[in-house]
């Protein structure tokens, strides 16, 4: 994939490092000349373009025409929005994603037609989950936060341990998508049973997430 990343600082550096490790073609856009020199040194495999990524000229220079994705992670929400709007409207970049530094802006950007994420929201929801339920391993919001994918470990006292899937009553709009037992994943059906120590990947909606977790783990939310 050819990815244009606009921004600077640690976020950009580590993001680029991990994308380069996966063999993606990376073009970095940064408006600070000295940071550009540093980035070009530290990330030799990336192309660095110095300039304002919210202008047509610089986006074009960076190859926005052929880009598969544009990622705007500057500390300024207004720049991130404009970068993504230009990328999709002027250069038809298939995927443009903006960082919303102000979590309120994540929703606003989506309503303006730009995919957005807020690290504040992601981290705070992770902290909330970890703090309330130790046996939850992962919680990933997908579909712009309208769907949660959660991985949990069943403990001895879980109300569903020892039951068959067909016997378990879950609230509406919830699904046990994957069952992992002894590191072997299966897509479970009604005939599968659940045991303590099983890892489950559960799909929920944010509004029924807590009741579903309670039904599976028995832990108060």
């Amino acid at each position: 994939m050819k990815v244009l990343i606009v921004g600077g600082g640690n976020t950009l550096y580590f993001l680029c490092r991990s994308l380069l490790a996966k063999d993606h073609e990376i073009v970095i856009i940064n408006r600070d000349p000295s940071e550009c020199i540093q980035l070009a040194r530290d990330l030799a495999a990336a192309t660095v373009v110095c300039g304002d990524g919210s202008t047509m000229k610089i986006l074009e220079e960076a190859g926005a025409m052929e880009a598969d994705a544009v990622l705007a992670v500057t500390p300024n929400d207004q720049d991130n929005l404009v970068i993504c709007q230009l990328a999709s409207l002027q250069f038809d970049v298939p995927k443009a994603v903006a960082l919303a530094n102000d979590p309120d802006n994540a929703e606003a950007f989506r309503r303006l037609g730009v995919s957005a994420f807020s690290t504040t929201n992601i981290v705070s929801s992770l902290i909330e989950q970890w703090a309330s339920l130790e046996h939850i391993l992962n919680l990933i919001p997908v579909g712009e936060g309208r769907v949660n994918v959660t991985e949990i470990i069943l403990e001895e006292d879980a109300p569903v341990a020892g039951k068959y899937l067909k016997e378990i009553e879950l609230p509406e709009n919830a699904l046990i998508a994957v069952l992992i037992r002894h590191n072997r994943p299966t897509i479970p059906r009604g005939e599968n049973d659940l045991q303590a120590g099983d890892r489950l990947v559960v799909i929920t909606m944010p509004e029924n997430h807590r009741p579903v977790m309670k039904a599976l783990t028995g832990k108060p939310d």
Binding site: S54, T55, M56, K57, N76, D77, Q78, D79, L81, V82, Q85, L86, L89, Q90, D102, D104, N105, A108, R111, L112
Partner: protein, 146 residues
């Protein structure tokens, strides 16, 4: 002229200040937003509106300024991206009926229009006046007014 329009102006620089004072004088209810407290110093005594201290790219600041109930929103900051973002937010999220944005970079004017914003490029506007005045020649320029 008495009317009951509510007008929110983002940016209290020279342009924002001028607009705020004029509109306030003509009877509009005006709210001005700026990040710097000192920016409000130039509002004259006959400005009867509200001053909101804060960053207009933060939704909470816009809400606090009452954008939801505004009839007109004008963004006049010296950052084109701030203007285009807040104008879109005002128009599409807070449903403000009339939204105007100042644009400095003429190259951006057209793009902003495509995003559905009434963009006023102050650079192009003043350049037109300059060119017009030059075209009128030196003898007419003495009393020339745009």
């Amino acid at each position: 002229m008495k009317n009951s329009r509510t007008i929110v102006i983002l940016g209290c620089g020279r342009l924002g200040t001028y607009l705020a004072i004029q509109l306030s004088r003509s009877g509009d209810s005006v709210v001005v937003i700026d990040r710097h407290e000192t920016a409000f110093d130039n509002l004259s005594a006959d400005f009867s509106g509200f001053r909101i201290l804060g960053d207009g790219t933060h939704m909470q600041v816009l809400r606090k300024a009452g954008v939801e109930k505004a009839n007109i929103f004008i963004s006049t900051t010296d950052d084109d991206n701030v203007n285009v973002m807040t104008a879109q937010v005002a128009r599409k999220i807070f449903d403000v009926p009339q939204v105007l944005a100042r644009v400095l970079d003429p190259k951006r004017e057209e793009i902003f229009r495509q995003l559905g914003i009434d963009a006023i490029c102050t650079t192009t506007l003043s350049a037109h006046v300059f060119l017009q005045t030059i075209a009128n020649g030196p003898e007419k320029a003495k009393g020339a007014r745009s």
